[in-house]
């Protein structure tokens, strides 16, 4: 299988993971078995990390508060930022952790039931961690687009239903 074909399979799955291997095989003119094997390989090697569904929780009626927290840390000898990052990303409230260049070190996205919940988490769990120097918490007010997907895309299909 060529590198381009491999990339195509991954791109198709990233866009819509509900397509069956049979469909993907048809789309790329490949034997089904090759697609199935490749997907299994990718799952085993953790290139395909997880199949999840992007849900607009707000629309589903869930109260969820998200905050973006800038964290400054003191890097550790030998392990750098990784151990501190791990201490942070292990918390289930933490949804994303990124190591950053620039004015601070880690971007931490935290979700909670309400603002108090998130603020408590930061004050009690995050700020008190050894090697965490400081934190700055920004609450998300509205999500427009996430992971490349626009939540309320108003671009309906306006085409005529039949045209030459």
């Amino acid at each position: 299988m060529t590198e381009a074909t491999k990339r195509s399979i991954l791109a198709i799955l990233a866009e819509n993971n509900r397509l069956a291997p049979e469909d993907i095989a048809a789309m790329l003119c490949l034997p089904v078995e090759e697609v199935t094997n490749f997907i299994r390989e990718m799952e085993e090697s953790n290139v395909i990390v997880k199949y999840n569904t992007l849900i607009n929780w707000e629309k589903a009626g869930e109260e969820i508060v998200t905050a973006l927290i800038e964290v400054k840390v003191v890097p550790q000898r030998e392990v750098g930022f990784d151990t501190v990052a791990e201490r942070i990303y292990r918390f289930p409230d933490v949804k994303s952790v990124f190591l950053m260049s620039g004015g601070f070190d880690l971007t931490v996205l935290v979700e909670g039931k309400n603002m108090k919940d998130v603020a408590l988490f930061v004050a009690e769990k995050l700020a008190t961690l050894e090697y965490v120097q400081s934190t700055a918490t920004h609450f998300v007010l509205k999500k427009y687009k996430q992971d490349g997907v626009i939540f309320e895309d108003k671009e309906d299909d306006h085409r005529l239903i039949v045209s030459p």
Binding site: I12, A26, I161
Partner: protein
């Protein structure tokens, strides 16, 4: 007063589009998935729309030169050179039109004298024949067959040439069949064109949607540049149908003649569309490729699905249509399409809307999202088992 009696006979007798009646039927039915649409399902890429908004903010709301913005014509020339190895002079050999549609009309009106014959592959896009008739010419169908993948057969073509034959229309990749002709196949057509001193009107609006190998422009064949009126546009490859921008590339004499008609009937193509087209040519390559890749994946998916349900389906190599045979069902294409809408809620276009050689076939457009296609294929499959 009877208004109808004032209408010129040539217009009165023009047959209405075969799609119209079908459109009404589909529009009245609820919950239909349409594979009947002849335009991209993608909205014009954002960067193109954004560039147009910016041009409006800057006050670009005026007429342009009759030929179109020179900057745009220069970009068109570069684009044709880069993708099709064609050479044109932006000042004298390019005209920006209101869609390729205008180009078809201009070409026929410029070239035809009363009674001149125009050969048109059948099945083909619906506007060639009426444009020929309105220009005073006689449209002659050149039948093409599924067994030959709907390519033009040189022997059949030659057998229809008379002393009055003046123009040959080519449209590859083809709407409605998706057929593509290779360079060597086009060369045998070119040889006939040369021998009989014909002019070719080549509608290459789907050229970029060629899925195997590089597209070949008829005008790039030896000796064909000056015999060819090349028509193209932005509607398909850049998902810009509503902007109404196309272009003509041809020798300076033909072009000057076409500009005469264009300047009195159209004056110029809309400047907003021209600004958007400029952006499409300058920065549209990535988005164009993304769309082409998606079409290609859907094409394979649909062909595989149709074949699996037992329909004979030759593999289309271009455009965004498949043209399966439904002869095995014993139904005419019009009956099949009508029952499919009513009973299975899938709209396709009967092959006969594109000429009598389309009988026994239906046109399915895959300019529709993959989940929709999947659902449509499963509905067609269920429908077939009820026949």
């Amino acid at each position: 007063m009877n208004p109808a009696s004032f209408i010129a006979p040539v217009v009165r007798e023009l047959p209405p589009s075969g799609i119209r009646r079908f459109f009404d039927l589909v529009a009245e039915t609820k919950g239909v998935i349409s594979l009947g649409v002849g335009e991209p399902d993608f909205v014009t890429p954002w960067h193109i729309r954004e560039a147009c908004m910016y041009s409006l903010e800057k006050g670009y709301t005026m007429y342009t030169s009759n030929h179109g913005l020179l900057e745009l014509r220069e970009e068109i020339v570069n684009y044709l050179a880069k993708n099709f190895a064609l050479r044109y002079d932006p000042k004298r050999e390019i005209l920006v039109t209101v869609g390729a549609s205008e180009g078809v009309d201009l070409a026929m009106r410029t070239l035809l004298c009363p009674g001149d014959e125009v050969l048109i592959p059948d099945p083909s896009y619906v506007s060639y024949m009426p444009c020929v008739t309105l220009a005073g010419g006689r449209a002659i169908s050149v039948p093409t067959r599924a067994e030959e993948e709907f390519k033009l057969n040189p022997a059949v073509l030659e057998s229809l040439i008379t002393p009055r034959t003046k123009v040959l229309v080519l449209c590859y990749p083809n709407n409605p069949t998706g057929a593509v002709m290779t360079e060597s196949e086009l060369l045998s057509v070119a040889e006939i064109v040369e021998r009989h001193n014909l002019i070719v009107v080549s509608d290459e609006i789907y050229a970029e949607l060629t899925y195997e190998g590089k597209p070949v422009s008829f005008a790039a064949l030896p000796g064909m540049r000056d015999r060819t009126v090349l028509l193209s546009g932005f509607s398909k490859a850049f998902a810009m149908t509503g902007w109404r921008i196309g272009y003509v590339a041809t020798n300076a004499d033909f072009l000057a003649a076409m500009v005469k008609i264009h300047q009195y009937t159209m004056l110029c193509a809309p400047v907003m569309g021209q600004m958007a087209a400029l952006e499409a040519l300058r920065n549209g390559e990535t988005e164009k490729k993304r769309m082409v890749t998606t079409y290609d994946q859907r094409r394979r998916f649909v062909v595989a699905a149709l074949r699996e349900m037992g329909l004979d389906c030759f593999e289309p190599k271009g455009a965004f249509y498949v043209f399966p045979s439904i002869k095995a069902t014993g139904l005419s294409s019009a009956d099949f399409a009508e029952r499919l809408v009513l009973e299975a809620k899938v709209a396709v276009v009967p092959g006969t809307a594109f000429g009598s050689s389309g009988e026994g076939h239906i046109r399915c457009s895959y300019a529709t999202s993959t989940p929709h296609l999947k659902e449509a294929m499963s509905r067609i499959k269920d429908f077939l088992t009820t026949l």
